[in-house]
Symmetry: none
Subunit: 142 residues, 4 copies
Amino acid sequence: MLDTMTLNVAKQLLAAAVHKAAQIGIRGDVAIVDGGGNLVAFYRMDHARTGDIDIAIDKAWSSVALRRPTAELAKNAQPGGEAFGIHTTNNGRLVILGGGIPLWKQSRLMGGVGVSGGTSAQDIEAAEAAVSAFHNLISLVT
Amino acid sequence: MLDTMTLNVAKQLLAAAVHKAAQIGIRGDVAIVDGGGNLVAFYRMDHARTGDIDIAIDKAWSSVALRRPTAELAKNAQPGGEAFGIHTTNNGRLVILGGGIPLWKQSRLMGGVGVSGGTSAQDIEAAEAAVSAFHNLISLVT
Amino acid sequence: MLDTMTLNVAKQLLAAAVHKAAQIGIRGDVAIVDGGGNLVAFYRMDHARTGDIDIAIDKAWSSVALRRPTAELAKNAQPGGEAFGIHTTNNGRLVILGGGIPLWKQSRLMGGVGVSGGTSAQDIEAAEAAVSAFHNLISLVT
Amino acid sequence: MLDTMTLNVAKQLLAAAVHKAAQIGIRGDVAIVDGGGNLVAFYRMDHARTGDIDIAIDKAWSSVALRRPTAELAKNAQPGGEAFGIHTTNNGRLVILGGGIPLWKQSRLMGGVGVSGGTSAQDIEAAEAAVSAFHNLISLVT
């Protein structure tokens, strides 16, 4: 039974996100963290931006730390929004750009994925490929 | 006579805030700081967000550091507002989200409470439960 | 079955450490983190040092992050030691002073306790009171 | 011809280091950075320490930044040594523990590997497995 994020699972999630990123024509940085927000595995695709290393890792962290997709923060943290100002908390580690998504096994927070490299919509699409891969894996091993 | 924040008092304030948070259906992180802004006690409710640890502690700190509820900052720190930009001062420790409230004993700043986990309105409601508990305790021991 | 650190358990561990600290005549700061190193609960005893807030929290974090008591680091990180220099890694968060101890449930890392306020020997003694309380609680609820 | 670090190569270097780490009985964190010191890929083995995430990445970075194995720093940065104090420069990012090794293609600095999880000798052994893999790959593709 899978009850923590393993390196083996994380590598498959990275592969799924990288595959989708290539498919939609972006070069991204992709990170997988565990349920405590700690990095498990990371890939930077060739020619992807070095400025996205931190962003990808911190998107994954943020999705776990706030237990929701970072895209939701993107809306609420706009000027005038309920959560404006949240992006400078946690020593600036909290990212409010779409592309970070938590990985749930029912009510258990197992980890998070973060993708950075394209538009928010593209980053979300690549991250969702990792989420789908995660749910496929869970259904196999549980 | 109570003239500084004690651990015993802080625990009762945490209990009041946690009780209210549970009552209104949120899972929050709650912090009590003393009049110098230094942490006295902290509780993270089960399944509350880890990203709110820093936010709760920094809301309590901010309420003491600026001697006012953080909800007031939330308004003034919006773009176009008088205090826009204040949230990146103090190494980003200054939080402009509602839910931090100073604890006064007449004109004496005794400490602050910070709650994070729900909407600003919910965080404020839970923080106000701690403020009420504080005033009840003061009236008893003074 | 207890499979994550809960607030209820953390409060009992804090109480055990604070009780022992008082018994041996020190005033300490005590922190409990979960298995991911994230803070669950914290108490600063009356008249304990504010400089120990960070140290207690970071001792607890370090014990989880390195999966061993911080006292072991204290030896290896001395000049000439195998791990000299480790205390400046992780943005200085890694504490090499005794008083941080991981909390294991068999092979599962459930969290950590950090105590700061006395000598290393005293801090360790108070932290060990929390560890004992943890094992008593596990034997009851499992 | 291989003239920059690619993700494909980095994954093979990680695999080599992880394989060696498992063989010698340690659980490590392993990082590959490019010639600019920027992270390309990272693996945390199951049950490896979260405190070694930063250390592994920063060992790899340090080996590139100082263009030498971190084990050399370990000697010189001891009290009384020529480089004592260097470990607090670069915002503490510079790691003086063995296990970071630059990856050279003749006189061209192609990247670095960092391993953290065992003793310095063990970390170095696992990192050297990545270095060997790198030289094998170079001889094939050049």
